[in-house]
């Protein structure tokens, strides 16, 4: 009888220890093939199963994962040394063959979405069991960082079961192995006993997609889930009051910014017909900057779920320049600046004015374009911006539309002043895409929609993009950023969105700035 009781109790204890750890996301992975979809939630789910040669740590530094180290042979050749004794979930050892195959697949598979990172790789081959030789078409000083999107998969297994079979039962080297899933809905995982690294605290894990924010919080408070990402600011107090969970925040890398039309003197779509575009002058851009109270936006609209941005890059980014600070919020000085530039009120109605081509004057009306379903509280922020601009005498109005309408119009340059977001761990990519002038080849300034242009900045960025020495590269970036943000007022930064997670008591977890949520980074308290 007693033995039975002991057996029963230990079974109960076992059952308790085996309780599934549940993490709720706002979306769900749509594929478990790690090279086919470059989207945050899909990758975050996949990171439990697959690993990459290098990855960013939570402080934003690139650190080796499956790699031991990497050596640069010449501008276009690298030697990648692998960790020994790393096992795939089927028990076979990971070798240079697998890694070379995976890097090449990510770089060249016709449906690969990882080409933005490893697309410069022209060849990868195994030199011996643990060394891979990588060749690039053009020099890529950031290759190690870019290998963070080259998940390693077992070559032999993929060739045996085919892509369809692999999707049904994916195998990697990660801390968790695949159990079952429903595409886009949930993924069941189990800790991998032979994992080479630190074993995760939770044996059984389930990642679920709960798209509605209120439901996600309800599931957290009722105990159905242990971590819920993207808790909405309006629910913070309710979570804290509940006593069963707390809200954890980390400043993210996604900056919400404003861009102004730099290239059309007349005919800018957000201004009155025939009016001159004042924003070709950096002083007018600075006036808009100074009219915006970023602290108020963070406090009142974001409910503290954001961090005021001093500049475009975040502090964890390479090339962050601590000398760049916000221009002070000063609406009076902002109005004075515009008056001195000749946009003052001449008819006495209080509103600023713009000259027209034919010598007349029209009221300074300005349309602010923004998406209304892309960033946290995006439409409300745009409305607040309009109110702030109205205070200095600009008749600002908001045109907030769904992202499906907004982004194509942004690409076509149909705006005078728009608000959007940008999140990338890779500063060189950011500099090349938004700060370098736009060129026809499509290599430079791909997201420089308002055509900011400064030859000196272009030169510094191009130089940085091919500099292998990290310290020198950072120096070049810092210089470029100083000119762009302080002298040219190329963009007006507002805030970095915080990465937010609701975490149940008894679990230790801090969100990562890059928005990837990993169950294996959660610990028992």
């Amino acid at each position: 009888m007693r033995r039975l009781l002991v057996a029963l109790l230990s079974l109960l204890a076992l059952g308790y220890a085996e309780k599934t750890f549940v993490v709720a996301y706002q979306g769900g992975a749509v594929t478990l093939d790690p090279h086919m979809r470059n989207e945050t939630t899909t990758l975050a789910w996949q990171h439990h199963i697959f690993e990459t040669p290098f990855f960013y740590n939570p402080e934003g530094k690139v650190v080796p994962v499956l790699a031991e180290k990497i050596e640069q042979i010449d501008e276009n050749t690298w030697k990648l040394y692998l960790k020994k004794g790393v096992k795939f979930h089927d028990g076979t050892e990971m070798t240079a063959e697998d890694v070379a195959f995976s890097i090449l697949r990510a770089a060249t598979h016709k449906k690969s979405q990882m080409k933005g990172y490893v697309g410069k790789v022209s060849d990868a081959k195994a030199l011996d069991r643990y060394t891979v030789l990588i060749k690039t078409k053009v020099p890529d000083p950031l290759l190690p960082a870019h290998l963070d999107h080259a998940a390693v998969i077992p070559k032999a297994y993929l060739e045996k079961v085919g892509e369809e079979g692999f999707n049904k039962h994916p195998i990697g080297t990660g801390p968790y192995k695949f159990v079952s899933w429903l595409n886009g809905d949930h993924l069941n995982l189990e800790a991998f006993e032979d994992y080479w690294g630190k074993k995760p605290d939770f044996k059984k894990v389930k990642l679920v997609n709960i798209p509605n924010g209120a439901t996600r919080v309800a599931a957290l408070l009722s105990g159905e889930v242990d971590i819920a990402e993207k808790v909405l600011p309006q629910d913070f107090a309710r979570v804290e009051r509940s006593g069963v969970a707390t809200v954890k925040q980390t400043p993210g890398v996604r900056v919400i910014y404003i861009a102004l039309d730099y290239w059309r003197e007349y005919g800018s779509e957000g201004l009155p017909e025939g009016a001159k575009n004042p924003f070709l002058d950096p002083r007018a851009r600075k006036a808009i900057y100074m009219a915006i109270d970023a602290d108020a936006i963070v406090k009142k609209i974001m409910g503290g779920a954001a961090t005021v941005a001093q500049q475009f890059l975040a502090p964890i980014h390479e090339g962050y320049n601590p000398e760049i600070k916000r221009f002070p919020y000063d609406p009076k000085a902002a109005r004075k600046l515009l008056e001195d530039l000749g946009y003052g009120d001449t008819d006495g109605d209080g509103w600023l004015e713009l000259p027209t081509k034919d010598g007349g004057r029209v009221p300074f009306k300005l349309r602010i374009d923004a998406p209304n379903d892309r960033y946290l509280n995006d439409a409300q922020i745009a409305q607040a911006l309009a109110n702030m601009l109205r205070k200095i005498g600009i008749q600002a109005e908001v045109n907030a539309v769904p992202k499906k309408v907004f982004f194509p119009n942004m690409t076509k340059g149909h705006f005078t002043m728009y608000m959007a977001g940008w999140g990338s761990m890779d500063s060189i990519n950011t500099a090349l895409s938004l700060f370098h002038s736009k060129d026809e080849s499509g290599l430079y300034g791909r997201f420089n929609r308002m055509r900011y242009k400064n030859p000196e900045v272009d030169r510094l960025i191009e130089e940085a993009a091919k500099t292998f020495d990290k310290a020198k590269r950072e120096e070049l970036l810092r210089k470029a950023m100083y000119i762009a943000m302080v002298e040219d007022v190329a963009y007006i930064p507002l805030h970095y969105e915080n990465v937010i997670a609701g975490v149940r008591k008894g679990v230790r977890f801090t969100p990562r700035p890059d928005e990837y949520l990993h169950a294996f980074e959660a610990e028992k308290e």
């Binding site: 809905d185 599931a219 159905e224 499906k404």
Partner: protein
């Protein structure tokens, strides 16, 4: 037999028309690569991806390829997941079907007797109370009902789970949410048809014969009132199969409506099209079943 052939051809035509219309409408939403290709790819890489999905071909060629595949029952491959669109829908079909059946079951269980009751006691206090409640049921938005039920039963009381479909308990909140509107709808519908039927001659005759009121109401009157009701239930079934979007979204239900909504957000056209085609087939099938049921309920209905 000819009837079936005609019905079948009609169905095929409907599916073709719907698929074509949606295919054309989707072209109006702009370049799919805008959302499909990740931001960090160069233009040349985006073009490579476009080619891989066959989107570099002219629209009419894309349409012909699509129709050719559709004829063979191939609904295409999801752009975002790389899996066959039909397989993605199929693995989520049972969850939606079960939820819809639960919701309709609840709605019939409460709506039908309440409707009869209200008709038999027309203009009594009960009738007026039921009619008032049904107005509330019809006008309350699904979104609001769902969130309120979650706040009361999951968060405050802790009785029922709010997300997913892992046990029978998970069916209760979304099922009830979906049934609110239908209970009210069924109640009002049954009440008015019953009132109609109860005033007819044959009911008077039945009563005159001295039949018990129970038999008059349930056997004679209700049977006739059921004909339009069956049509309504059938229509509601079709509606819910393709229209439980909000409920599936709130309760993180692993159904196909949520899949379709996501496909819409991510511009995953093959999945959107597959969903629409599947929905058209379901509607056509439901209509057919309803027609057959007519014959069973009302012996006068016969197809020559």
């Amino acid at each position: 037999m000819r009837y079936f052939t005609v019905r079948f051809l009609q169905m095929l035509f409907a599916v073709w028309a719907v698929a074509t219309l949606v295919f054309l409408f989707l072209q109006l939403t702009g370049d799919p690569m805008e959302l499909l290709a990740p931001e960090d790819m160069t233009e040349a890489q985006v073009e490579e991806l476009r080619k891989a999905y066959g989107l570099d071909k002219p629209i009419h060629v894309q349409y012909l390829i699509y129709m050719k595949n559709l004829l063979r029952g191939d609904l295409g491959v999801s752009w975002t997941s790389g899996e066959p669109a039909l397989a993605l829908l199929a693995q989520r079909f049972p969850a939606t079907l079960k939820l819809v059946l639960v919701a309709l079951g609840i709605a019939i269980f409460f709506g039908l007797p309440a409707g009869v009751w209200a008709a038999v006691r027309a203009d009594s206090l009960v009738d007026r109370a039921l009619r008032f409640l049904s107005v509330v049921g019809i006008s309350a938005p699904t979104f609001w009902i769902g969130i309120m039920l979650i706040l009361i039963f999951s968060v405050t009381l802790g009785w029922l789970p709010s997300a997913g479909a892992h046990s029978w308990k998970h069916y209760i909140l979304p099922g009830v949410t979906l049934s609110f509107y239908r209970i009210a709808l069924f109640l009002r519908m049954i009440r008015s048809t019953m009132l109609d039927v109860l005033s007819q001659d044959y009911v008077r005759t039945a009563r005159a014969k001295g039949l018990p009121e129970r038999v008059v109401v349930y056997k004679h009157a209700l049977r006739n009132a059921l004909i339009p009701f069956v049509t309504l239930v059938g229509l509601q079934f079709g509606h819910l199969m393709a229209g439980a979007v909000v409920t599936e979204w709130i309760f993180a239900w692993p159904g196909m409506n949520r899949l379709a909504l996501n496909a819409l957000f991510t511009e995953d056209r093959p999945v959107i099209l597959a969903f629409v085609v599947l929905t058209a087939v379901i509607f056509a099938a439901v209509n057919f079943v309803v027609d057959v049921l007519y014959g069973l309920i009302d012996p006068r209905v016969r197809y020559a």
